[in-house]
Symmetry: C5
Subunit: 332 residues, 5 copies
């Protein structure tokens, strides 16, 4: 276990492994010694480390200046960069959002050399203790060296995306119901827009991983033994599937927005027709009443005994006739 | 025929073939022996097998862990992966939907080695008994080995898509009629959206197969003899055609949605104009009646004998004139 | 000339050529002999042949099973496939539509070997007699062998598309006039949609030819001599131009549809404003008349001698003033 | 100078050059001789030549049949084709339109061999006399041979596009003002559509040049010496910039069309609200007047002395109150 | 420091460096001498230089004519061009706009040879004095030669884009609030359009840099030592991120515009419904009043004592009932 000072600097764990088995905790100060042992490598987990710590490790392992600066600044896009025989990987991690936001992103930087793996977590991200545990439980695989640790971490990070994307798909379904049900409202459009924004964000985090995995599978990185590549192909597969899920959701969302607009037009159409129909139904008796409200002296109907009831009957008749016609035409 | 226990575990059939001819049923337990015979291979059909069975076969044939895990979990996207000299293929199968859904998807996983073909069916999918029958009826082709079985299965799976895509094309035609006919309704838009969703789903199942077939045709897989590649080119062709049919339907659907919106505007326009025209026709006599309903003492018209009929004639005249004008202008 | 039996089976012509010159008609039965002569090849023209005939030719020339099955089934997409040293080409032919349809498609399958060309026509398609005539009139070119015949047929098929695409461009122009002129109607939208559908169909028939020609120009097909490739480049050029014409028309059509929607909104706007303006002009005198129709005993205006004319003047004045204002504001 | 007969056939100029210096005018008849001189080449300028002339040159220089046919027919798309060691280039030339059209297109065909350049102009196109003059003024460059002439002509043709594209950008700006200013009208939509059409046309003429220049820069054409390639890179650059300008204008235009639609909706909204507001303001006093126009015997208000003024005050009060409310709500 | 004459010609600084350390100021006249010293190079900073100065430097360093002409004319798109062993780079610089414009662009041209770097600034652009200072402060890096200076300048230019793109993202957020808040107005659409235009402009300046950086990282330019390439990879990374930020903002903006249109329809819908509801509520009592305003002699209600109050009660009742119903239906 890292001592208190190290913990405060950001060290979560620092363990040496040989032949897939855990040799024991190492302090940062003893690392030089630990990695001099043949067939042994250290796996260091950091969380928002202080600058001094990263600089110390940089000296220890000869990390490249540009990589370390990236790790200090964060806000990188996912990428894999090769510096001589070592590799620097940036991943965006994801978590189900808190406080009304649906998605929270973090970042993990991984330094990988023949004798070390360093993971640096920033922002929203689950602990990697579980990954370490599962790796230690499979010594045969862990014996393949740092590349397998890289796989384990990437696999974990990528798998976190599935529940998030599932949640976005569920939201799309909920929106479909809101759109095609009657409950349309101003708020639906806002929700469509928010979903779109989340999808774009997830896409942005996931799509560069296609390229990263591809390079791990195909290119000739000495660090990655032949049989570990199959594992990265598995991650590649997951990433492609995530990408596809996001794209499909995005495309359907676009169609949903258009359908939405279409239905608004239908609804507008209906309202206009109803308005027109009722206006006509009321306007006609008003007009008739107006005529018999004229003050001409010579208006014989006014003197008839049944003039008034007749006029009311005519009014009701015209209204009923209009009502039926509009009903049949689908305007009411 | 597999015995009761095997059947319960998910075995549908397990047959050995030599030189394209059926040698006979084999139990899972006897497989090791069966595949030791020169020029002989087994074709095992499974349907939602229990985990133990798959694990047993994994040991028997040395299947890769990642492939077996995919087969256990299902919900993969279509792909072809090579593990040493064996190959793992994932296909999405399709069936005309039941209970109101138009399309039902299943999954088939295929393990292919020099001496075995294992097919694993999940979810909606037709039985492969027919495929087996047709293969056995053509010993010359079946003699080409497991690769030909792979072709036969893929060809069958792909051909299932044609009636489904045809049905989607028919639905598009029905929608066209609904849109351009008068029978427009709120439900049409919902149907457009559903068709879109089905198309996206089918596309998602079919389009990765372009790549899969391409690799079977072009890349140097020892498992696939030169003359079987021509057959995969045929499958490739079908997949490309399916893809194209889906794309064309999708593009037309988008245009249909836009045309729909356009027609709604036309319809809205017409309703507004009609409303305006009738409002004008009724408002004018109402206004005239209002004027002669005023109580001024000095209104000479009121005393005229023909005042009342004259006013009615004027009202009717104005209304007729308006009616004719609106009719000519196409507002009525 | 093919005898009656052959003609009934679907043979249109079957002629042997040597050094670019016509040697003479050959019956199907004599083909084996004809193609054994050095430097001689046969060009067989079929139209919707019976299955037996195709099977007979398959045996004669060793055509591949998959190619023959395609030719029997038709409904393929345009493609070029190589079987050993022979080639199978599928083309979609086009004709100006009859009976209200604008475009009719057919299919032509071409089998090409070192010593034979077989063309199989299905559906709407012009006769290839003219092509044969032109080829025979240019022995120097025809001497280049079956590849030149392939060129001549493809060139002919592709050239049939130009008048069809021209007609679609003309229809777009007619639609532009309908949209931007006043004569907008519900039918215009339907015509836009139909044009779109035709364009998509033509595109689907033409665009795979880009790839087919490309392969004939660039890849190393022994069947196509170096100097005939230049001719396929010419066909390639035409295909690219057709493609481009269709794409441009399609893009403009999309914009036209949007412009259409925009103009509908303008028109809706104008109708609403006019409705509002006339409603206001009529409502005001109606209101004034209403006021003087009230039955209060103490309404001094009612007793004035000039009350009535004054009120009418006020009504007319207000109406005129409103009319002028609306006119100026562009509402009327 | 070409003699009268040649001029009538379409010869504009035919000059021999050696070591970058003008040797002198040559008649078509003397060309054979002129190009036999070592280090000498002829540059022939034609304008809509008669067929016979082109056929004569074809024989003289051994031009390929397909190229000559293209040059006779015109209406080609821009392209570069290699025939053996000679090259055939098609360019679309442009001019500011006359008589209401904004853009006029022409075509120039260039035949290029080790010892000749032939330019053939069709339709709208500026004279190439200036290009010839500038080339002759730079003998060091002209000494690089026909390839430099090709550069000079292409550079000239491409530079003609800049003022045209600038004019289209200006039109977009004018449209922006029309859209976002108040002066919206039916004509604006038509102008948007026309601009779109012009952009599509220019794009169609320019974009194939990217490929043409690329081939001149990169591929191994013996005709183009290493140091002339840099010049084609310059043309390439201009073409890419033109392409980009057109694309940007096109994208903004699409957005402008959408913004247009959006603003029409806003305007429609405003009109509807105003209509509603005024309708309400007028309807209320009309209703009140209607009530006091009723003929009930027992209506005490009618007998009050201040009944009439009171009712008018109430009417005015309600109207004012409504007016203020609508004003505040932004409906008026 | 450059003397007064040089300063007037456009020289900002002209300094010689050896082994990463500053040797001292050099006048343009003494450059030939300065670059003859082994391991020494000069870094010349110009700002809108006069033509004569550039021509002088062209002679001094053997710059290519086409590059110098580009530098004189400006208005190039970003690019990298190689002339023999020297390189010419064009960058678009950006600054937060002044006077209402959000973004101001300038241009920087860089000539790079084994012994010189020349930077030429045009238009809006920050001074490069800071870059020079930072380079001089890191002699170990500056010792890598002109390529490192190129990196430092490109890095600086690219970093200027981040605040600009951030500002555009902020504007998008402000627009989102305007759209989804109630404060919608005609001006919002104009702002959407302007943001789009700015994004397109930035995209146009940034996206060609992807290619430029890629070539600096990957291609075999002798001028760029292996270890400096890592630095260009860093710039590449920033450029890709900028590109992505712009694309994401652009996509969201498009969706925002559509959402905007959708909300306008909602708002239109609401207005129409309200209008209809109020029209109905007022029309009904008007009609009733009209009926009792008729002048029939035999209208018993008119003589009833409670006729008038009863009719008013009926009117109020109907209005209340309508009001409640409309309220419940969400029309009011």
């Amino acid at each position: 276990m890292p001592d208190e000072r190290e913990r405060q600097q950001g060290v979560v764990a620092c363990v040496a492994y040989r032949d897939g088995r855990r040799v024991g905790e190492v302090t940062i100060a003893d690392i030089s010694e630990a990695i001099r042992v043949d067939g042994q490598f250290v796996w260091i987990g950091l969380r928002e480390p202080v600058d001094a710590l990263l600089r110390q490790l940089q000296e220890e392992f000869g990390l490249h200046d540009l990589a370390v600066e990236d790790a200090l600044r964060a806000h990188q896009r996912p990428k894999l960069e090769r510096y001589g025989e070592s590799v620097f990987v940036v991943l965006r991690t994801v978590e189900r959002g808190t406080e009304g936001r649906r998605v929270d992103f973090g970042e993990t930087h991984l330094f990988l050399g023949p004798r070390y793996v360093i993971s640096v977590r920033h922002g929203a991200s689950s602990s990697y203790a579980g990954v370490r545990g599962r790796c230690e439980a499979a010594p045969a695989l862990l014996a393949k060296g740092p590349a397998f640790v890289l796989y384990a971490l990437m696999d974990f990070v990528v798998d976190q995306y599935f529940p998030v994307v599932d949640a976005l798909e569920d939201e799309l379904e909920a929106l479909e119901e809101a759109i095609f049900g009657q409950a349309f409202s101003r708020e639906t459009t806002a929700r469509i827009y928010e979903l779109k924004r989340d999808l774009v964000e997830v896409k942005r985090a996931v799509s560069p991983l296609v390229d990263v995995c591809n390079r791990l599978v195909r290119f000739d990185l000495d660090l990655v033994p032949e049989d570990v590549r199959l594992y990265f192909r598995d991650v590649y597969d997951h990433v492609v599937r995530l990408n596809e899920m996001v794209d499909v959701t995005r495309e359907l969302l676009t169609t949903a927005l258009e359908a939405n607009l279409s239905l608004l037009s239908v609804s507008q159409n209906e309202a206009t027709k109803r308005l027109a129909a009722w206006a006509a139904i009321i306007a006609v008796p008003t007009m008739i009443a107006g005529v018999y409200g004229m003050n001409f002296e010579a208006m014989p109907e006014l003197k008839w005994r049944w003039g008034y009831p007749a006029s009311v009957v005519v009014m009701l008749g015209v209204c009923s006739w209009l009502y039926v016609r509009f009903k049949r035409a689908g305007w009411l």
